[in-house]
């Protein structure tokens, strides 16, 4: 998956929200608004790392009838009309139940560019699934935090093929504040590691200020909760993206 040199902007949306078939249209809008790649969230009944907004959109998406098979149909549709890289993000249980190999095979066939599975812990991935991911050549994108030990970050660096997802702070998704001095210092410590893999920052990016801050240090930002809220508030995608990118 190819990223720009800098200022990559990625949007997360829950597949199946607000309507079951919203994703293809939203992706088109996002592409027109200048977004660099998309994260499509596979809704789960018990999203442990997510705040209230993504919990809510997940529940609505599930009630709308979203499943992995439906999602794959939508990905196929999106891929026909768009060159934007698509990363799928979902908790491990639905993927495990679907069948990890079957899932990876489908991803490969559809040209999915990467996967984010927040609760597939690194050791478990390495022990049980790494070989399978490599067979199907689907990069797994790992999360790190500013508190992740350096040797663990180095392990992640070695295993990462697309980018590393840096979680901005110790919080579930949707935290809304500016970055503190301590957070910026922690970012700088990660920056100083000079990782060979691009770093995208997510969790808590909700306006131009937070977007700018992380883009100045890293390769780009991922926005989720703020975008989902803007959908609920009937803000147009174009206006939302213009506001964030500035």
């Amino acid at each position: 998956m190819k990223l720009n040199k800098k200022n990559n902007c990625s949007i997360f949306l829950t597949a199946g929200y607000p309507q079951l078939n919203s994703a293809p249209k939203l992706v088109e809008e996002l592409e027109n608004a200048g977004i660099d790649f998309i994260e499509l969230g596979i809704p789960f009944s018990d999203p442990l790392a997510d705040g209230p907004v993504i919990q809510e959109t997940s529940t609505i998406a599930l009630n709308n009838g979203m499943t992995i098979d439906v999602l794959f149909e939508q990905v196929a549709e999106i891929k026909m009309n768009s060159a934007l890289p698509i990363v799928l993000m979902g908790y491990f249980n639905p993927i495990y139940t679907y069948g990890v190999e079957k899932f990876l095979k489908q991803c490969k066939a559809l040209g999915v560019d990467g996967l984010i599975i927040p609760d597939l812990e690194i050791d478990i991935y390495e022990f049980e699934y790494k070989a399978l991911f490599e067979t199907y050549d689907i990069p797994l994108i790992f999360l790190i935090t500013t508190a992740t030990p350096v040797d663990r970050i180095r392990r992640v660096e070695k295993m990462s093929k697309a980018f590393i997802y840096l979680v901005s702070s110790s919080a579930t998704t949707g935290a809304k504040a500016s970055f503190s001095k301590g957070q910026i210092q922690a970012f700088e410590r990660i920056k100083a590691l000079n990782l060979k893999v691009p770093i995208m920052v997510g969790f808590g990016i909700h306006n131009n200020e937070t977007y700018r801050t992380v883009c100045n240090l890293f390769d780009g930002a991922i926005i989720g909760t703020a975008y989902l809220k803007s959908i609920a508030n009937k803000v147009s995608t174009k206006a939302f993206v213009a506001d964030i990118i500035g």
């Binding site: 789960f44 009944s45 018990d46 442990l48 790392a49 997510d50 705040g51 919990q55 599930l62 499943t67 992995i68 908790y91 491990f92 249980n93 639905p94 993927i95 495990y96 139940t97 679907y98 927040p118 609760d119 597939l120 812990e121 690194i122 478990i124 022990f127 790992f142 999360l143 790190i144 935090t145 508190a147 992740t148 030990p149 663990r152 979680v167 110790s170 919080a171 579930t172 935290a175």
Partner: protein, 614 residues
């Protein structure tokens, strides 16, 4: 009485296996592919297994992707360094009288294993001089430096008090599986095998090594850290990696710590009121033509077994310097037990509880508030235990310095093991109480209810390896197993991941967790602890489902015949007695809690029944 005993058959560790003295390329390839953790090469001219190499073999070894250990005996620093770089070794093992300085210097380049020859007069304090070693290796003292193929008395290891993990070495062969399995030293990391698996020096008997590994894997149900068979593990978001790691390290330290054990024991005795009685129920025995005992966990302070675990975990939290405690609760018993111990120890306490449960277990909500805890309603999903657990985990992610006291044998490793460990006092007591009352330590049958399964884990713990003791997990069938309103996880569940561990989970075909139903808030959970999933799947334990109505009836019956009002959870275990062949058997039912919290539910049903009669 030893209140804390490590769980033998379900040891939580990766058993590291090193095969030493290799030379043949075909053997090395085969071992590297069969899951051996470390391959050992000997660089000691006096050894019959000294590695004779040429450039081709050098390149071959360099290209191996596994952990490679070079064994040296009193060699010069430069020689070790050069050899290590030449073969790109990951570890060097020092088997002579190398100094601590040497170990430290080499540890800048490699992981270092320092070997010691153990004999009856060996002073283990010597090991403390080598803090930079990554691993120690305990071998037998003999005539030859670097391994003699004989065993030392492994009991001597009890005197090793250090905290560097060690490998056991010296004459380990295929007949040692049982002894290895029984090793319960907290820093026992794995084994090193060599001469007992050889056809001739440095020619290994590969099939025999493989069989040995299989045997070892079979007898130790968990070869991977935190697994019970295929279940368990720590499926956690990276945000929880540090807190879980910190907890695991702390738990490993206190598990065998005498001071901790003694504090725990004293609180259980003087504060909780343990041991709880093992009460012979004449009426139940007559009814079932059996010898039936009730293990009276309902007589614990706060009215259930839950406090055994909260005392243990909150003592641990204190040790770790934590000041904020959080917990999830279903029936409220774990919440009350957590709030109680927090009050005792002066810690802040926040309890997450589903709003449905807050309604049906009101007295416990009031108790928690009175004890000074903050009760946070969980409004998502089914608004019961599952959702309370979600909220607690989310809070933990947002406040990683908090100590999360999980109330059942669920959650990411080390929780299932830790909770079982603290609850194991139940079966510890049962053993001597049964001995006293029946002249036998073992009953024929143990029956316990299972939501997540903490009281069952405690009641089964010391009997897990006694195959003659039949274990029954009683689950809540709600309105009936197939009614769509049930919490009978082992009947309805499939393998999945819930709250950080792999277990049996009630879920849709699409992997969405199903909202369970049970009249008992403590059993109203769509998962089951990984230990129980393993016990049930492997056939060691049987599972029985009991409906809401059957449980209510059994609870009311016990109230009238014995004057004991059981918790609705425990009433499920009692109801199961009608479904098991009990004739002439000695049976223990774990009466996990008292029913005061359930009066409203009981009375509603009782009034309904009485109205029907009128």
């Amino acid at each position: 009485m030893d209140l804390i005993k490590p769980l033998q058959s379900l040891k939580v560790r990766i058993m590291l296996i090193k095969v030493c003295g290799l030379s043949e390329e075909s053997e090395i390839t085969e071992l590297a592919n069969s899951g051996i953790d470390m391959l050992g090469f000997i660089f000691h001219k006096a050894s019959r297994r000294n590695l004779n190499y040429d450039e081709a073999k050098g390149a071959f070894i360099r290209n191996l992707a596994c952990e490679k250990v070079g064994v040296f005996v009193n060699e010069e620093f430069d020689y070790i360094l050069q050899t290590g770089f030449y073969f790109s070794l990951t570890h060097v093992q020092l088997h002579g009288n190398e100094s601590p300085g040497m170990v430290q210097a080499l540890s800048r380049y490699f992981k270092v294993i320092k070997a010691f020859s153990i004999h009856s007069k060996f002073d283990f304090r010597v090991c403390d001089l080598y803090p930079s070693a990554d691993l120690l290796l305990f071998d037998t003292k003999g005539d030859l430096a670097g391994g003699n193929g004989t065993q030392f008395d492994w009991k001597l290891l009890d005197s090793y008090q250090g905290d560097i993990p060690f490998l056991l070495s010296g004459g380990i062969g295929k007949n040692d599986v049982k002894a290895i399995k029984e090793m319960n030293h907290p820093f026992f990391e794995g084994i090193d095998v060599n001469s007992k698996f050889e056809i001739e020096p440095s020619r290994k008997n590969i099939p025999e090594i493989k069989t040995f590994m299989e045997e070892l894997n079979k007898s130790i149900s968990k070869t991977r850290k935190g697994y019970y068979g295929e279940f368990g593990g720590a499926y956690i978001p990276e945000l929880l990696y540090n807190p879980v790691q910190e907890l695991e390290t702390a738990f490993e330290r206190i598990k065998t710590n005498e001071e901790f054990k003694s504090k725990f024991k004293h609180l259980l005795r003087d504060y909780v009121g343990r041991p709880t009685p093992l009460y012979f129920s004449n009426k139940l025995s007559e009814k079932h033509d059996a010898t039936i005992f009730l293990k009276r966990e309902d007589l614990n302070h706060t009215g259930a077994h839950k406090i055994n675990n909260t005392i243990g975990q909150i003592l641990l939290a204190k040790e770790m310097g934590k000041t904020n405690i959080i917990a999830e609760t279903g029936a409220g018993q774990h919440g009350v037990a957590t709030a109680t111990v927090c009050a005792l120890m002066g810690l802040d306490c926040t309890v997450f509880m589903g709003t449905v449960d807050m309604e049906r277990q009101k007295p416990n909500v009031q108790r928690m508030k009175m004890l000074g805890a903050k009760v946070v309603p969980a409004e998502s999903g089914s608004k019961t235990l599952k959702d309370a657990t979600n909220e607690a985990i989310r809070y933990w992610i947002n406040n990683p310095s908090t100590f999360y006291v999980i109330g059942s044998v669920v959650g990411p490793h080390p929780y299932p093991e830790m909770v079982a460990h603290f609850q194991s006092v139940i079966s510890e007591e049962m053993r001597f109480q049964l001995q006293e009352k029946t002249q036998k330590m073992n009953p024929d049958i143990i029956v316990a209810c299972v939501g997540g399964g903490s009281n069952a884990a405690g009641a089964f713990y010391h009997y897990l390896e006694e195959d003659a003791v039949a274990l029954y997990c009683v689950e809540a069938a709600g309105l009936g197993i197939d009614s769509g309103k049930s919490a009978a996880t082992s009947h309805l569940g499939t393998v999945g991941i819930i709250h950080g561990s792999k277990s049996l989970v009630m879920q849709t075909d699409n992997g969405q967790i199903i909202e369970p139903h049970s009249i008992s808030a403590g059993l109203d959970y769509p998962g089951i602890g990984p230990l129980h999933a393993h016990l049930i799947k492997s056939g060691r334990a049987k599972s029985i489902a009991v409906t809401d109505a059957e449980a209510i009836k059994a609870g009311l019956d016990l109230t009238r015949i014995e004057g004991i009002i059981p918790a609705l959870e425990s009433a499920h275990a009692l109801a199961a007695l009608d479904k098991i062949e009990l004739k002439n058997k000695t049976v223990v039912v774990n009466l996990s809690g008292r029913g005061d919290k359930d009066l409203e539910t009981y009375l509603t049903k009782l009034n309904l029944a009485e109205n029907e009669i009128e």
